[in-house]
Each structure stands twice: as C-alpha cells, then as structure tokens.
Symmetry: C2
Subunit: 564 residues, 2 copies
C-alpha cells in the first residue's frame, strides 16, 4: 500500500490522543490523522465529573466543551483541527506486520482495516472492578465516563445512603460530592489510611478528621467482601467488619492501564502493568507510540517506573508524541507523582518520595513537619497549612513534600515541584525570592519556615519528634515531661492530654519545675515556641530535650477542649 494512503491512527480520543492529533495537525498540517474511540463522547475532562455530581455545574456537556462553550465532537475536530474522528469504533487488533489497525463499529459490528504509518496508543485506563458477588448489581458504579457520572447523579437523587469503596482521590471526591447532595455516605478503605502509599499516616489522619467532621462514616482497615442486592438492585455491602446498607455504591479502588490491545500485539509491558515506552514515548515497536493513562512513566527522583495516571501528564505526553512523529525532537522526562485533591475544606497534596521510598532508593531522608499560616496573619483570609518536607541528608536536596490544610497548599507544592525537578537543596529553598504581600503570603513564606526548620534539624541544632512518635510513647506508657509552652488562654481552649503548661515567656524563670532526669518534649500551637523552648532548655543544661514537630496543628489525635 502506498505511503500516502497510510495514516497516523490514534487509538483513544480523550486527553492524550486528542492532544497528539491536535498538535500533529499544527506542526505538520499535511498529516493524515484519524482518531478512533469506542465511545460516543470524546475529548472530555473526566477529572471534572465528581464536581458535576456535586452540582458545581449543571450541564454535563461542559466537560467536553472548549472554554468558550463549543462542544468538542467529531465535527469540531474536523472543522477546527482538520482531522477525522471515528467514534463508536473499537480497535480490535494491531497487525504490526501489515501495519494495519483492525477496527469494529460498536453498533453494527462491522469490521475493517485502517493502514497506518504510525499508531498512537492512547487507550487510557480501566477502573478496577473486583470479581466479587454483586459487582454487577444496578446502583453499583465506577466513575470514569460521562455515562457513569450521569448514572451516579440520577441514582443519588433518589438515594439516601451511599457507600464509596476506596480512599484514593476519586473516592474522596465522590464521597464529598454525595455529602453535598445530602446522602449519608460511608467510605470504606481496606488500608488503615486514605491515600496509602501517597501520604504518611500522620498526614492522612488529619484528612480522616476532616472527613469525619463533615459527616463521612469513614471505615478504615475494612475490605469489601460482597455487594448485596434485591431484585437486581444494590441494597448494601459486606466488609470484613460489618454490613452497610446502601442504595448507591461507588467502586473507586483504583485504575489499571488499558493495555489489552498492546499485549495482544506483542508490545512490551512494564513492571507496573503500563505500556513500556522510552523517553520519546515510543513503545517496543518504533512505529507505535503510547501516551496518557495506558503508559507508565519514569520517576524523576528514583529513576524507576511508576504508574500515575493524570490528565496533566497525558497532555504533555501527547505533545511529545506528536512532535516525534512530525520529526521534531522531543522527550518526556518523567513525573514526580504529584497529586492534589480537595477534601471538603482541607486541601491535600504531595510530590516526590515518601521517606520510606527515599530510603529504598538509597537516599538518607530527613523529614520535618511545620504548620504555618498561608498569608499574613493580619489578612482575614489567612488559613493554616501543614507542610511535611523531606530532604536527603548528604546532598541536602529536597526529595518530597506533603501538604494538607484549609490554606493554599497548591502554590507551595508547585513551587516545590519546580525546585525538586531542578535539584533544589533545602538551603536554596530557604532563600527563594518568593512573592510577598499580606494578601498572598507571609514575609517568611511557609516554605521558608519549613526549609529553615529542616536546616536546623540537618545541622544538628535541635532534635524533634513527630506527633505520631509522641503519641506512640504515650500509648506505651513511657515516662516523659510533655511541656506545653502556649499561653494560659490557648491552653484553656484546647489541650493535649498529659501535657503541662509553662508559657514560653515564663519558662526561663520556672526551670526548677522541670525534671533533669526525664525526657522533656515541648510544643506549642505550631511548635515555633516549642522549638524556642527546647533551645532555652538546652542552653540551661537540660540534655534530654526534643520538641514535638507540628504542635497542636499537627496533632491528629484526640484533644481536650474547654475549661480544665
């Protein structure tokens, strides 16, 4: 078959596939491109679906509209972008010898072959639906497509109780959406924390508190065993711990790369289960590229492969694929596993490596926990955030961060992403000329405060404990002096059990009240005064002193309130 009748066949018309096709037409307007997708809806923003369910916008079509309100359908792409889209068309096989893609019309079942010069696999992900009894009942949904969102919303409107299975970011977003819709929501997570593997336990515990505060019945360490139904409709679920009635069940336990076609074509699959691609996004067949949720990516710090499906990554990879097909030089460097999710009034984000991951990669991670106000405290919009920052002891390079709180966490994580990507050290971070004015930040930005706290730790100026470590000591009944250095007024409002009050201003004069033979653990609201108290005690000859990082704001466990 002559070259000119061969086309670039893009399999999958959502984020990565459409980006590839659009970019290709821009850089090489004479390209012959066809995009095929087995669904009718293409080029939609799946990430917005939970917010549709929540009711933040009413017209579901908005998820596939341009910002000025034009629906991105086949006609739009033909007219505005100059390429063909075949919807309701499934790719059933890639014949790499003959260089044809066999496609099937989903409605008619009719099959035909499309000759290709290059194939772009942008087949996306597939929600994991465990083969449990009842998984096929009416009222049980994953959330991936516009159809799922429509189904969930319709069902939610006539439901009272919902169960969301899975505490990843889709589960969290849908759980919140259903609460806003007035449902009683139970969130079931098999692990002992939400976002396991992405957030440390202590940070996750703060999110647990927010979920419970907003009325979610959060069930941790409970595995889904079966889904129960009556007359084909879901009525509840059974976990390892109990039974939860439900008219609506969302299964959001994760997604897998959609690589069946690739496997059948004999393409190499990576260890994560995603399509293996090189830096140019080429699969093991140089005429077949992959992009988006069906491929695995390189982690910029560990160098290893990770599977972190994200619409943002899909768009970047699509551009790289297009440029390479067009003969321009382009490569995709990798990801930092950056994630962000809004959980009611708590923003949750992370990037880079957790301490344990860092150790596994041969780093020597040192971590600090610092709460701070996201703006000047005189600004009425100022809200707290809690930053957990990790650096490598020898190189002092930042390895990762987790940030939670009602304040602006997104700005800090993006700043860190830029820094980490470029190999920033904690010392460089502390000196960044970040933008300061009271409506936006404090004179020492939370990132500066956190970097300085971590420098103090790395420099051996002070030792400290995380709240979880202190809590564990309490649970074990260890004997230590738990020193609250806040003001009497603050102490009256909220206290940690077992802590004794000596306000910082009075500490120098009341050193005789402190034991010389026990560990002393000072803290305050954010543990800046706690740190200061520790320095005062050390200077006064107390040798066994470690302040508690995070203070009251970092303490995710029970607190006593009201007059003592």
């Amino acid at each position: 078959m002559p070259e000119e009748t061969r086309r670039i066949v893009v399999i999958g018309g959502v984020a990565a596939g459409m980006k590839t096709a659009c970019r290709l037409m821009r850089v090489n307007p004479s390209s012959k491109v066809v995009v095929i997708d087995k669904c009718k809806e293409i080029s939609y923003g799946a990430c917005s679906l939970p917010y549709y369910i929540e009711g933040l916008f009413d017209n579901l079509e908005e998820v596939r509209m341009t910002p000025v309100g034009v629906v991105r359908d086949e006609k739009f792409f033909a007219n505005c972008k100059g390429f063909e889209v075949l919807t309701l068309t499934e790719a059933v096989a890639i014949d790499r010898q003959r260089k044809v893609v066999r496609v099937k019309n989903v409605e008619s079942g009719e099959e035909r072959e499309i000759p290709y010069s290059q194939v772009v696999l942008a087949s996306g992900n597939r929600p994991i639906l465990p083969p449990l009894p009842g998984i096929d009942l009416k009222g049980v949904y994953p959330l991936k497509t516009m159809g799922h969102a429509q189904g969930i919303l319709a069902k939610a409107k006539s439901s009272k109780k919902a169960v969301v299975v899975g505490g990843g970011f889709i589960g969290l977003e849908v759980a919140e959406a259903l609460i806003h819709r007035g449902l009683e929501v139970t969130l079931v997570e098999m692990k002992d924390q939400i976002m396991a593997g992405l957030l440390d336990g202590g940070m996750a515990a703060l999110v647990h508190r927010e979920l419970r505060k907003k009325g979610i019945n959060l069930r941790l360490s409970e595995g889904l065993q079966s889904i129960e139904g009556r007359d084909g409709e879901v009525v509840g679920i059974q976990t390892s711990q109990g039974r939860y009635p439900a008219d609506l069940v969302i299964v959001a336990i994760g997604v897998r790369p959609e690589v069946e076609l690739a496997k059948a074509a004999g393409l190499e699959i990576g260890k994560t289960g995603g399509l293996l691609v090189d830096d140019q996004m080429r699969s093991s067949d140089p005429d077949i590229y992959g992009a988006g949720d069906c491929v695995e990516s390189k982690h910029l710090l560990s160098g290893g492969k990770v599977y972190v499906p994200q619409g943002s990554t899909a768009n970047k990879q699509g551009r790289v694929v297009a440029d390479n097909i067009a003969g321009l030089k382009a490569s995709f460097p990798g990801v930092l596993s950056t994630l962000i999710v809004k959980v009611f009034d708590c923003n949750v984000t992370r990037t880079g490596l957790l301490a344990q991951e860092a150790r596994n990669c041969g780093f020597d991670p040192v971590t600090v926990l610092v709460p701070a106000a996201d703006r000047a405290h005189t600004d009425p919009g100022s809200k707290p955030i809690l930053i957990k920052l990790t650096a490598d002891r020898a190189s002092r390079k930042i390895l990762g961060a987790q940030i939670v709180g009602p304040g602006d966490v997104a700005k800090r994580i993006d700043t860190l992403v830029a820094g980490i990507t470029m190999g920033i050290t904690v010392d460089q971070l502390a000196q960044l000329d970040l933008a300061y004015a009271p409506p936006f930040s404090s004179a020492m930005d939370p990132l500066h405060q956190t970097a300085n706290a971590l420098r103090n730790k790395l420099d051996g100026l002070m030792e400290s404990l995380e709240p979880q470590e202190v809590y564990a000591k309490q649970q074990k009944g260890e004997d230590f002096f738990f020193l609250d250095v806040r003001s009497p007024k603050e102490f009256e409002e909220v206290r940690l059990s077992g802590a004794q009050l000596i306000p910082l201003g009075a500490l120098r004069g009341r050193l005789n009240e402190l034991p010389r033979d026990k560990e002393i653990i000072p803290f305050c609201k954010i543990s800046l005064r706690g740190f200061e108290a520790a320095m005062i005690l050390k200077a006064a000859g107390f040798s066994n002193v470690r302040y508690m990082e995070g203070g009251i704001l970092g303490w995710p466990y029970h607190m006593e309130t009201g007059k003592k």
Copy 2:
C-alpha cells in the same frame, strides 16, 4: 574593655534587626545582644498597614502581634527571646576605632556609649519626601510607620477627597484602601504607567483599566509640583497638568535606604545608594553587618546590584547575619526583584528581568503573552490570568515573567521563581509535573500553556505580535487584515475595532475571503484559536501571517461592546 562586656548591637528593631537578634539567641544562647530603635513601636509588619487603613482589621496592634496575639514589645523579647531592646533610642554614631555605638535617648536627649563586638545595621528605609512647597502641611503623609497609618486613617474618616502621589505598590495599596473607605481618590504618577521599570506598558495598561473601573482618577505623566494648604492644612495639589483638591495627600513616590549612620561611619555605599555588603552580609568593615531595607542586593540573573526593599528579603538576610556572627557558615545569594500587589480584583506580580533589562545584560530575550484560566473552566471559581514570559533565545532559560489578572497569579510566579533561581529552561517548564485537579488548575496549567507558546515562538513555528504592536500599527494607519476567529456570539459581545469575523471552524472554507497581498493578524479571546488560525493560513500558502498574542484578554485598549 574586656570582650565579655561587648555586645552585638543591632541598630533597627523591625524585620531584619529582630530576625537577626532572635536567630542569634537561638543558635548561640549565650550571646549578649541589644537591639536599639529610635521608635517606640518595634517588630511591626509595615506591609499590613494599607490593609489596616482599608479596614481589613481594626486593631492596629495586630501588626506587631505574634499570630497568637502577644504584642512583640520589649518585654516579649526579654522574656521569650532573652535579649534587650532599647526603644526611643537613636544610634547617633558608630566609632569603629573604639568599637562603640553612641546612642541618644530620644526623649531625654541623654547620650551614652555601648561597646560592641559586632554591629548589625538594620536601619531600614526612609520614604522619599520631595522638598516641594507644602510638603509639611497637615494631612500630608508618607506611609511607613504605625503612626502614619493611624494618622491617615483618622484623617480619611473626616475627608472626602484624597490624592495619592506615586504608582508604586504602596501607592496602589493605599489608593485602594481609601476607595474602600469611601473617599474620592486621585492617583498621580509622573511616569506614563504605574510600576514603571517593573511592568511592561501593556501589562500596566491592564492595571490602569482596573484602577479606573474601580473609581480611581488615574493621572499618568503628571509630576507633583506643589502641595497647597490653608491654615496649615492641605487643600489640594498642583501637578504639571492641573490642580486636584484634597483633604488628604499620601506621598508614596518611593523609599531610600537609611544609610546616614553608615556613611558617617565611613562604610562603603553601593551604586544603588544602599549599604554595600558581601554575600555574608558583611559591610566594608568586617565587624559591621547590614540587613534589610538599608542594604542593596545582588540580582540573581544580571549579577548586578539592585535595591528592592522587601520584608521577606529582610527576614532572610537577618538569619544569614546571625549565623555568620555565630560562626556558622551562611550566605545570601540574591534576589529576582519579585513583587506582588493586589489592586482591587486584579493581582499583579513580576519576577526576573524585563526584556529591555535582559538585553542590557547581554541576553537575547524572546517574550510571549498568554491568557489562561487559573482553574478548570468547569470550576465555578475559575478566573483568568495573563502571563508574559521571557526566555533567552540561545540558552532557552527563563529570564522573567509578569502576571496580571483576577485569578491565581501568586502560584505561578512562585513556581517560576523556584525555576528561574535553578536555571530552568522553557522546555523544562513545559514538562513540570505540577499539581492538577479542577479546583486548583487546568490539565495544562497556564504555565505549561505559556511555556509551549514560547517554545513555538523560539522554534520558529509561528510569528506573533503583542497587542501594543498591533495597536501601534492601527495608530499609524497601516493596512493589514485583522482577523477575529471567535464565534459570532463572542463577537457580538465585545469586538476590537477594525477586526473582521471568520470563526475558526469556518476558516478552511472561507480562505478566498482573505487577501494574499496583505499581512493577516488573527486573534481570538486568548489567541489559542488565533494561533491555530495562523497555522491554517500558513498551511494554505498565506505567507504574511502573525497572530496577535493575548487576544481579547490581553488587549488593554478600547473595545466595542454590544450588538454591532
């Protein structure tokens, strides 16, 4: 005099001075430190004063309170930090031979000497008050101290008309505050734009529009000539262009480093007028350090010296000074001249070099202007921002950015600050794994979109013009085809004069309507479709095509509205 009776004398007790003293006590608790300040109020956040005037908080004391409400006075520093503060005490001379600071009690006039081991000059800045007739009238204020803020607010409450002289960030903040207080406000600026030297004219013009929209009588290119009074009270001002009545006049034409004491002591002053210091913040006398608004800083990109007084910089420098005095190794690398200011509903920020500055430093700057939504367009809180990004042609490193708009500009500038500091290229910027979820960003963050637009320009994929260039062509009566490729509905709402509508989707079919002998300048709302149109035209053989960057959102001049 024996060494142990000598102290570290910190001159100036606001940001840099207090940071130095506090840090010093932490890292070296046996330090003998005394802070002297000629004012009663110390350790206050001057940046919050405009917001006090505006009424965002009622208790002026908050600007010198800790976040938990403790006033940072002499007693606080003695009890909590362990050092002495002498207020109402002016440093009148530094005797470097004898190593003593001569101080004077401001009330009693009594003088005495304090022996020092090291001096820290943290004397801050001094507002420029031009020696014009009437500058001493009642009702004429600079804004630096708590007293000024108190005076301005008291006067504002009984005033109807105010004039603010100076379109720098203090002038802008105070002008807004006074509008919120119900005054008629005239803002007089000698240059033809606000924030001259910090923002390009086109970006400033967008801020001008916001100021006028919110009721400010903005008078550009007008120099203050005299201030007029009656019975010692201000009644108006005279500029080069006219007379403006006023009960209240704020003079905010800039600040100068307070270096009289340093000069008198024979210390070297830099070209900017600020105290010359090395990377360790040491002045030309190794026992005298400088920090904060009285020193000049190195610009990280140009390598030259700049004077950019900022509370954030002062805090960082104070820590460096303390560490060096304590014998720890520390240096301050420099600044990027990052600034941010809220102007009503428009956030304005910048960092790095403007194109002209970059050229003067030997770079070959290439700039692009890109409007974008700060969040997914399905998010109800989504707002536009306009990014102007500059990179060096050869190295492709980012040199600077200006961002304005109602949306989240702070996140993007801080991300750029981290990147620029670390030498990021436009290609690396385009691939950053920034945090994406609809409440926080779009899948392609505005930074990614802007970086990609700049890459297209650097790669010669497309040529473009800034709105100012197009406007200049119009003013000169140049003949070109001004092609609006938006939808008819958008066109009906708002239009640029002289532009003709061919919606992007119809363009391929209507190429015959376009001239082959004239320059064609396509645009749309944000000029993404404008760019696309240019690519289509080029592919169709039109050779003289440049799209207009920024589109409607970047156009700061008059627009036609309503049905044509």
